[in-house]
Symmetry: C2
Subunit: 347 residues, 2 copies
């Protein structure tokens, strides 16, 4: 299959072609890049939904239930095609990811409107976010109207991946301990919706109360940074006295309860996600997030490409090795080493 054919086949809905493309993309091959380049004009339509949360919260079950809901929506909504990208940055090996696929397969197998792909971590810094972004582009081009991006854990990787999403769900579960609650404070900053899954367990009220308390802390009157925030309060200063601001009300992240294993609360979650999408569009936030996402994608690619090109042109392994030897002898500090390597290359 030559490459234009691959891209064409993906556009025509050929699942095998899509699977091949995703493998090319995951391995970051020149072929994969070329195919993505030609598919890029067909992207920008999918609703990207990030789903993150600590291990043990039942994220995967909830993602499966959401996928089912998009296939068989509540009355008044049209069925949509769903792509799922499950990212596991904790594992340098694909073992867990492959296992995850198999478990899912049983549940959603045979539905041509669902495409599931797992990926493990990439070796390089930023590689995971870049590879995930490319896979999401491919699914978008292939006509999946909703792409669920599932990540495990609570680290920087999750925050980077959440930057890909239009809507970010943070999943909690009762009884995971106070320390987990505490470290979630950072993750809450990126949450558009909070879900207490396993809500049939004891302690659900405490978890919910803790989340609401942390929401207060995380989103007081305005949210810093402005990257992932639904607030439309931007031009208050320009209002005349007495003038009424015609602005979209700020988005307040709702806290929802679900029991994914039984499907409880999934329809409500579906509706809240739909409501968030509507909010994004009416507030202009959808376009703002698109821009932020593309900017950060460009940044990551630029960084990786600069290093690759510099190495190709100037930074031969021997030159770098010599500098490392001098660092080992404590003759050059890391910064002095970088300065030595880049000297004369670019000021």
């Amino acid at each position: 299959m030559i490459l234009m054919e691959l891209a064409d086949a993906v556009l025509q809905g050929n699942r095998l072609a899509l699977a091949r493309l995703l493998t090319q993309v995951e391995n970051d091959t020149p072929e994969g890049r070329l195919a993505l380049d030609s598919l890029y004009a067909h992207t920008g339509k999918a609703h990207l939904i990030g789903v993150t949360g600590a291990p043990g919260t039942g994220k995967s079950s909830l993602v499966n239930q959401l996928a089912r809901a998009y296939r068989n929506p509540p009355e008044g909504y049209a069925p949509q095609r769903v792509g799922i990208v499950a990212v596991d940055p904790s594992s340098p090996f694909t073992g867990g990811a492959i296992l995850g696929d198999r478990v899912r397969m049983r549940d959603l197998a045979g539905d041509p409107g669902v495409f599931i792909r797992s990926m493990a971590t990439r070796g390089s810094l930023g590689g995971l976010a870049a590879a995930t972004a490319s896979m999401v582009l491919a699914l978008d081009a292939a006509g999946y109207e909703v792409v669920l991006i599932e990540t495990v854990g609570a680290g920087q990787a999750e925050v980077d991946i959440a930057r890909l999403a239009h809507t970010t769900l943070v999943i909690e579960a009762p009884g995971l301990g106070d320390e987990i609650q505490a470290i979630k404070a950072g993750i809450l900053e990126i949450a558009d919706l909070l879900v207490v899954n396993k809500a049939d367990r004891p302690g659900v009220e405490n978890t919910e109360r803790a989340l609401r308390g942390m929401l207060q802390l995380a989103h007081p009157t305005h949210r810093p940074g402005g990257l992932h925030h639904g607030f439309a309060i931007t031009e208050r200063a320009s209002l005349e006295p007495g003038e009424v601001a015609l602005e979209t009300p700020a988005w307040e992240p709702p806290v929802l309860r679900t029991v994914a294993t039984e499907g409880t609360g999934v329809v409500e979650l579906y509706r809240e996600i739909a409501r968030h999408r509507q909010h994004l569009e009416s507030s202009g936030e959808w376009a703002r997030r698109e821009r932020t996402r593309l900017q950060s994608e460009l940044e990551v690619l630029l960084q990786a490409t600069l290093v690759t090109r510099w190495k190709g042109a100037y930074g031969s392994p021997e030159v770098v090795q010599e500098v490392v030897e001098r660092m080992l002898r404590r003759e050059l500090s890391p910064w002095q080493a970088v300065t030595a390597l880049l000297d004369g290359f670019i000021e």
Copy 2:
């Protein structure tokens, strides 16, 4: 205080100067870099010990207990000065980190042989690992003979930070659920010692059994990559038939039990860490890890510096913005955008 004075004061053991330097380093100021450059010749002496594990495992208590053990060691060992760098990559805010400092302070306050510093995440990719590396250098130069680097979570950030350490401890606790165990498989790859903390809780045998099982999986006959591995099996192929290999036995990560809140098992942990250090030195692995660490530090700095310099010289915000606009109109794919930006700059 001018800068050479700052570096000199740090070398003379002035704690206030060290605190100021660490702030400069965390904010990545030119002053901080210059001071580190002049301190670099005094580094390379500290034993860097990474301590990582999921939330709820009691890492911080264990780190405190270890710090006490280094101050009041078992018979036959000399007291050592201890630096602690607590990294919380999950929080974009310092709230948690500051709180952590206060709790620790009560425990170790007033001991001039202990220096504790917390840091939250840096915005940029790779920024956290780079900033941590620099802080560790500063503590090393200031004469802290042991530096404990504590990280929360189980993501790429932990793996990157573990690359800084000579010895990596992975902390578990009973009853954190099967899923946590599963995602730990990746982290186990970097473990030199495994600790089941909270070992007075029910389920400790199960946790231990699970860890040993995963160790089997993670370290079968050799470990891939060779970055963090205590194995000295490198030149087997060159042995003549019948020749006996004079090599250090491979390091098999021990599994230890502790109850940090009561100090149980801490002396054994101390001894095992000492044994690992001895192993590193006798096998030549200490030098290998030093080299790997400096290489990866150089790589991260190089990447960041290339981007900064390119932006300074060519990538004005207006130029980048124009490219992002074209990406938004789907005229340029991310790769095409990077190519356009770097065109003519470096092939």
